[in-house]
Amino acid sequence: MSGKSDRLLGIAGILLAALMVWRATLIQESFIQDPLGPKAFPIVIAIVIAIASAYIIFRPDEEPLWPPFGRIAEIGLAVVAMVLYAQFLPIAGFVVATAFASTYLTWRLGTPPIRAVVAGIVTSVGIYAVFHLILGLSLARGPWGF
């Protein structure tokens, strides 16, 4: 069926709008008040989202070219790698964490493994040198201080 992706987008939009309206009605009013209050504007936005989503559901565009499953998995794994990177950054320190993460990304973008390791380390140390040593930006300090 053509336009399936757009229909899914529209349905997601409607659900988001419903969630917004529901959460907006739950907003606790405070003792400071203005005529419009904190709920009205979000509800108007939710209505705009709902109308646009309904239009997208009824008049979807042509199906986009989704990549084969392997490539979607590739992106999923890259996301996992980035999440792990974000979590390990304060624990392992900038240089070590970044070397691992950029090695992974360089490898997955089609570099042979050994060259990817070298490139990952060079990228990490290079960024550390430029941004921390020269420009003085504070980067995550691990147990070894870098």
């Binding site: 907003i27 606790q28 419009l36 904190p38 989704w66 993460a101 950029s102 360089t106």
Partner: protein, 510 residues
């Protein structure tokens, strides 16, 4: 002339040793960013904002650095268009049409020099346009009350999809999504938390820099992972001579002048950025001058027109951004983010209260222009060499620098996770052809938009008619409605056919 004396003051701000150095650095970095496929003015500036912010530069030098990057990226986009037939960014799309054929004919160096000259011409005169037009717009803007501002924001969102919009429902969806994101956090008027789901990190709201870097920069990394190995750049081309013969330059003066005017107008109008500027300049020039059918086969005028057009539009787009605080295109939205990050709110009050910032910035644009001309004509071979850095080494570095910038602002892992989420969202929305720029603008302006609405209601004690009480606000509302509906009727005549190609999905907005 008032503007000229302000401009002279601006030059005294910009002409310090430090500021000149920053402008030169910005021009150099910007040209590289523009030249590299996958990095354009929007995501290039987006990555640099958090870094500049973390470095703690004062407002004016930071602005000078980043706007030099912006202008530089506008120049740089043409390099890969001409040499590789791959636009470095979306405005450079039209330059491929005649630039690449010129390169195939062995005139690559001439095409680069000519387009550099056209870029300079367009940007230089557009900056003069900015000098004279922005203060006029400021005079109008000083008449604006809260109701007019609210209408102005509606106008900005309604026209943001632009004349080239493929699907207005998706533009509206994107704008509303951005506004919804801006609602997260503690409500500024009454102090109650909204949409925070009890998460303490969300009480401050979602930092717009996190959203921008995620949507623009990280999603680009995902696009590259998706298309890994698909595209191979066209073969090497010889540069040839890098100084075009005088007769070639003489042939394009008319082209450059016409394209500059068209581009500037396209840039000033809401909802039309540099891409439309280059497109209109090229198509009109083709209609006017293409007597022998040489356009598309390496006609120098076909190179000069889009380059003068897009650089003039880049200057023109700064007019509404600086004078009203409402950007009309992707890159100016990112520049607005930069101003907000530096705690500067653009608009008429900026011209009155901080003229040194505004005019220092405009003076810096002039200086950057001359630097770019100097960098781009004799030193173009350096940038050509940088193009040969393969993306498999480049994109991981881009991703890592994005992380460095965001981590530098807050030192919070939570922000990094939010940024990754925005990266994934950006990738999905790009696949679905939902424009990202309205989302960014929504995140940036949502707060002010709501504030103006609620103040209007407070003043009128809840009377909704106060929104359309003045002729000025009625005019703005009318423009907004027309601006939203018009593209549905005439959009397909204005859209470059080439922009409908599926491979442009990953294109950098503006």
């Amino acid at each position: 002339m008032d503007s000229l004396s302000h401009l002279a003051d601006g030059f005294s701000v910009a002409l310090t040793f430090q500021n000149l150095g920053l402008a030169l650095l910005g021009c150099f970095l910007g040209t590289i960013i523009g030249a590299l496929p996958g990095l354009g003015p929007s995501n290039g500036v987006a990555i640099l904002i958090p870094l500049v912010f973390s470095l703690g530069l004062p407002a004016t030098p930071a602005l000078i650095l980043l706007t030099s990057v912006y202008y530089g990226a506008m120049y740089g986009g043409r390099i890969s268009s001409i040499l590789l037939n791959i636009p470095g960014d979306e405005p450079a799309l039209m330059t491929t049409l005649d630039g690449y054929p010129m390169a195939r004919k062995g005139q690559a160096g001439e095409a680069l020099a000519l387009s550099g000259l056209a870029s300079f011409f367009g940007a230089f005169f557009a900056t003069w346009g900015l000098v004279f037009l922005a203060p006029q717009l400021v005079k109008v803007a000083l008449l604006f009350g809260t109701a007019e501002y609210f209408a102005l924001f509606v106008l900005a969102f309604a026209t943001l999809g632009g004349l080239t919009s493929r699907n207005q429902a998706k533009s509206a969806f994107a704008a509303a999504l951005g506004l919804a994101i801006a609602m997260v956090g503690v409500d500024g008027q009454t102090g109650v938390p909204r949409f925070t789901f009890g998460e303490v990190h969300l009480y401050d709201g979602i930092d717009f820099l996190v959203a921008i870097v995620g949507l623009f920069a990280l999603s680009e990394v995902f696009i590259f992972l998706e298309h890994r190995g698909d595209d191979q750049a066209g073969g090497k081309v010889k540069l040839g001579r890098i100084i075009p013969p005088m007769e070639m330059i003489n042939k394009v003066w008319g082209t450059m002048s016409r394209s500059t005017v068209l581009g500037f107008i396209a840039g000033v109008l809401p909802g039309a950025g540099a891409s439309l500027g280059s497109f209109i300049a090229y198509s009109i020039e083709k209609k006017l001058s293409d007597k022998n059918g040489t356009f598309g086969t390496g006609d120098p005028r076909g190179v000069a027109a889009p380059e003068a057009g897009n650089n003039a539009a880049a200057g023109g787009a700064l007019v509404p951004m600086l004078a009203l605080g409402v950007p009309g295109s992707g890159t100016t939205a990112v520049l607005l983010a930069m101003l907000l990050a530096l705690n500067i709110t653009p608009g008429p009050l900026l011209f009155q209260n901080n003229p040194d910032v505004v005019w220092g910035l405009i003076a810096a644009l002039f200086i950057a222009n001359f630097m770019l001309l100097a960098l781009n004509i004799p030193m173009v071979s350096i940038f050509v060499r940088i193009l040969t850095i393969p993306t498999n080494y480049l994109m991981p570095a881009v991703a890592m620098i994005s992380f460095v910038g965001i981590y530098g602002i807050s030192g919070s892992t939570f922000d990094l996770m939010v940024m990754i989420a925005f990266g994934v969202l950006g990738w999905i929305l790009r696949k679905l052809d939902v424009p990202l720029v309205p989302i960014i603008l929504g995140v940036l302006l949502g707060d002010q938009m709501e504030k103006n609405l609620r103040r209007t209601m407070t003043i009128s004690d809840g009377d909704l008619w106060a929104l359309v009480a003045s002729p000025l606000s009625i005019g703005l509302w009318t423009l907004a409605v027309v601006g939203f509906i018009l593209p549905i009727l005439v959009g397909r005549y204005f859209r470059p056919k080439i922009a409908d190609r599926p491979e442009m999905e990953g294109a950098d907005p503006d």
